[in-house]
């Protein structure tokens, strides 16, 4: 009987290992740090390479109760959304490895306000943080510079750095000991280029997380999926500028979709609202985990549970038979 040889590919590249957060010994105040990256094969193919650690799950909390979130999400969190510290604690209990603090857009938003909010969150959790500004260039710069200084040495990920707006954020990361999230619009070459621009400013590649932009299920997910597969293949083939760990935001994208937001006036074939909405987020996230995501940012606690369950089994090496 002929024996089938396990078909293995040879890769000579490796995803960079990046650590989020810093403990007291490392100049921060975090109770623990989280390291991502280090893969030497495609996602979870333990039979041909190293997957040294699971992808990390970040849960998004906002500085104040979101005005535009689906009721399905707000109900799941309950009253804690009224208070960022309480929300942060609840997110840690829901199984987050990392907390993503997102500042929303409102009149009170100022550098001082941002410092205060950050303080509350730092006091509420010992987990590493990712901090995103409200998404408008000037405000992002104001908020992130203040936050970077206030949390000096904590080794946050600051975001979002885009090609039109990365200098101030990168400078703040350099000055105060943080990482950055480099986001580009679903394109392999744009992603490489931004990594180069940022590292040219002097920020080591060990401090850049790459965000290839996420499309929700049904709204362009497959574009992000294929760009991520191509980036990961390039990284494994040895292209040094594609070897950053990847961060994606399936929670934010999926919950913008009508399927997740609308409970009424939708076709009957869409089925139960909560079931559909949570499936929308988990399927978007799980598909991106399979294409190489190292950090997934989620919103619903049930999605966190399901994606964690999937990752646990994918890391169990049950598929290694030889």
């Amino acid at each position: 009987m002929p024996t089938i040889e396990v078909p293995k590919e040879k890769w000579n590249g490796k995803v960079r290992e990046i650590t989020l957060g810093a403990t007291a010994a490392e100049g921060g105040t975090r109770a623990k740090t989280v390291t991502v990256g280090g893969e030497t094969t495609l996602p979870f193919l333990h039979f041909e390479g190293e997957i040294p650690r699971p992808p990390a799950i970040a849960i998004e909390v906002q500085d104040r109760k979101p005005v535009d979130w689906s009721p399905v999400l707000l109900e799941a969190w309950g009253d804690v959304t009224e208070d960022v510290a309480a929300w942060t604690k609840a997110a840690a209990e829901a199984g987050a490895d990392v907390i993503l603090l997102k500042f929303s857009l409102h009149d009170e938003l100022s550098p001082d306000y941002a410092r205060q909010v950050l303080r509350h969150v730092l006091d509420a959790t010992g987990l590493p943080l990712i901090v995103f500004g409200p998404g408008q260039a000037d405000l992002d710069n104001d908020v992130l510079v203040a936050v970077a200084e206030e949390g000096k040495g904590e080794n946050f990920v600051l975001g979002v750095c885009e090609d039109k707006n990365y200098r101030t954020i990168v400078a703040a990361a350099l000055a105060h000991g943080h990482l950055v999230n480099a986001r580009t619009a679903m394109d392999v070459n744009l992603a490489k280029q931004l990594n180069i621009l940022i590292s040219d400013m002097g920020l080591p590649l060990e401090r850049i997380v790459m965000d290839p932009t996420t499309g929700a299920l049904g709204y362009g997910m497959e574009y992000g999926y294929s760009v991520m597969e191509r980036l990961r293949l390039a990284a494994l083939q040895g292209d040094g500028m594609t070897q950053q760990p990847m961060l994606v935001t399936p929670g934010e994208e999926a919950w913008r979709a009508k399927e997740a937001r609308a409970g009424e006036g939708v076709p009957q074939a869409w089925g139960d609202w909560a079931e559909r909405a949570i499936n929308w987020e988990t399927l978007t996230a799980s598909t991106l985990v399979e294409s190489g995501a190292d950090i997934v940012v989620l919103r619903h606690p049930e999605s966190v549970k399901r994606v964690r369950g999937m990752i646990d089994v994918l890391m169990s090496k049950s598929g290694v038979t030889s």
Partner: protein, 448 residues
């Protein structure tokens, strides 16, 4: 394994060492100027080997073997509803495309009182996604100690879709196949213990047969496939006997690589996967190489996202689904009703059009030619700028249908406002919401 044009050229008369054959080099009888040109066309599947009268027998055999798809196309059907899976050529969709969407099946047991009812719901399910009607592909009927033949008959009459018969006892299998006659079902499964009897049934009833090994043992799986093929069954489906995320990913990836890159004929068949009650696992099966996915439960809130995911992954990356640029009239608009502009990427168009339509607000939707990209992507690529929007306003003649000169642009491209004012003198440019879902509210508040 498919040969390249140059590899094919080495097998044609132009490269022959036999002078009797070589003398026909570049004879043009195939309709192409040279053997090399013909080889290139063969490689692109734009010509057939029969066009060359002089190709040697040995070469012919090699070329025919290489032309057989590395993963066999398997067809099952019922009442004119057909499912084709297999015939895939790549490991990653960006390398070319994935061709045949995996079939989604719901399992019912012959001990289940509502089997026919579930089957009926599965058969009737249809959901619209960007103008496509997405449907389930069939029902998997399991012999679990009840009346298998009666359940198969009941399911068949309740649901017009193809069936998978989940049965290992050959006698029950035959009863099921008899009850399913008139359909082309998939028979699951032949195992090392029952394969002779199952292969005989599959050959007799002319149905595809799944072979099942235990625990991801691909040697055993390939051996079983070879035995079944030796017994006269050509249409084979593989079940490597793995059920969890990690072992499915490993086994299915290995099978796909073996078939495509290692020319391992004995595993050149589609895979059947069992996702249990876990939509996330079913999602993995869809993206990573299953041909048939069996779910344990039917629920709209779960199958809708899965069907959309399947449509996404199996979209040809070279051809984003587009709609025709132009003016779309929604809810019978009048000259005073709002004008909105978006791109011709189908997902974008349908998101916007569906929101306007379901709000009941009449409006004019101008679809600009952005080469099938979404608003943000097109804007980043320079395919949806002020010039292009102005051009579509002018070329469609939409101004003549309106009593106003106001246009709503997507919130994501608010930066275009100034330029667009210059491109369209006399027009009022309004910045709309970033997401289509917020459009009805915007129109109610802002337009008037």
């Amino acid at each position: 394994m498919a040969l390249s044009g140059l590899e094919i050229y080495k097998l044609l008369p132009g490269s022959s060492k036999n002078p009797e054959v070589k003398k026909h080099a570049n004879c043009k009888e195939c309709g192409f100027p040279t053997c090399l040109a013909f080889a290139m066309k063969l490689g692109q599947k734009q010509a057939v080997l029969a066009q060359c009268p002089y190709v040697e027998e040995e070469s012919k055999a090699k070329l025919e073997a290489s032309a057989a798809p590395p993963i066999r196309l398997i067809t099952i059907s019922a009442n004119g509803r057909k499912l084709e899976v297999g015939n895939e050529t790549v490991l990653f969709r960006h390398e070319k495309t994935f061709y045949h969407e995996p079939g989604l099946f719901v399992r019912v047991k012959d001990t289940q009182a509502d089997a026919a009812e579930v089957a009926k719901a599965v058969g009737e399910y249809m959901v619209d996604y960007v103008g496509m009607n997405l449907t389930m592909n069939g029902v998997a009927v399991e012999a679990a100690g009840g009346d298998f033949a009666a359940t198969v008959a009941a399911v068949k009459s309740a649901c017009p879709l193809p069936l998978v018969l989940l049965v290992e006892d050959p006698a029950a299998a035959e009863a099921g196949l008899t009850a399913a006659q008139g359909t082309q079902s998939l028979l699951w499964a032949a195992t090392p213990d029952n394969w002779e009897a199952m292969a005989k049934l599959a050959a007799q009833y002319k149905v595809p047969l799944a072979v099942r090994a235990a625990g991801g043992d691909l040697d055993a799986l390939a051996a079983l496939a070879e035995q079944v093929k030796g017994a006269g069954v050509e249409d084979i489906v593989l079940d490597p006997g793995v059920r969890d995320y990690d072992s499915s990913l490993a086994a299915f990836t290995q099978l796909r690589r073996l078939a495509l890159k290692h020319n391992e004929r004995n595993v050149g068949y589609p895979i059947i996967a069992f996702a249990g009650d876990d939509p996330v696992l079913a999602g993995q099966h869809i993206a990573k190489y299953a041909g048939f996915v069996v779910l344990d439960r039917f629920s709209s809130g779960t199958v809708y996202p899965l069907l959309v995911m399947r449509a996404n992954i199996f979209t040809d990356p070279q051809k984003p689904i587009q709609v025709k640029p132009g003016i779309y009239e929604i809810n019978n608009p009048k000259p005073g009703d709002p004008l909105m502009v978006t791109t011709n990427f189908s997902i974008t168009y349908f998101s916007v059009a569906n929101e306007i339509e379901s709000s009941g607000i009449p409006g004019w939707l101008l679809v600009a030619d952005a080469e099938g990209m979404s608003v943000l992507t097109a804007w980043a690529a320079g395919k949806f700028d002020a010039e292009r929007i102005a051009k579509s306003v002018k070329t469609t003649g939409v101004a003549e249908k309106l009593s106003h000169q106001r246009i709503v642009i997507p919130g994501h491209v608010a930066v275009l406002m100034g330029e667009l004012e210059e491109e369209l003198p006399g027009w009022e440019i309004n910045v709309g919401p970033r997401e289509a879902v917020d459009l009805p509210n915007f129109l109610k508040m802002q337009w008037g």
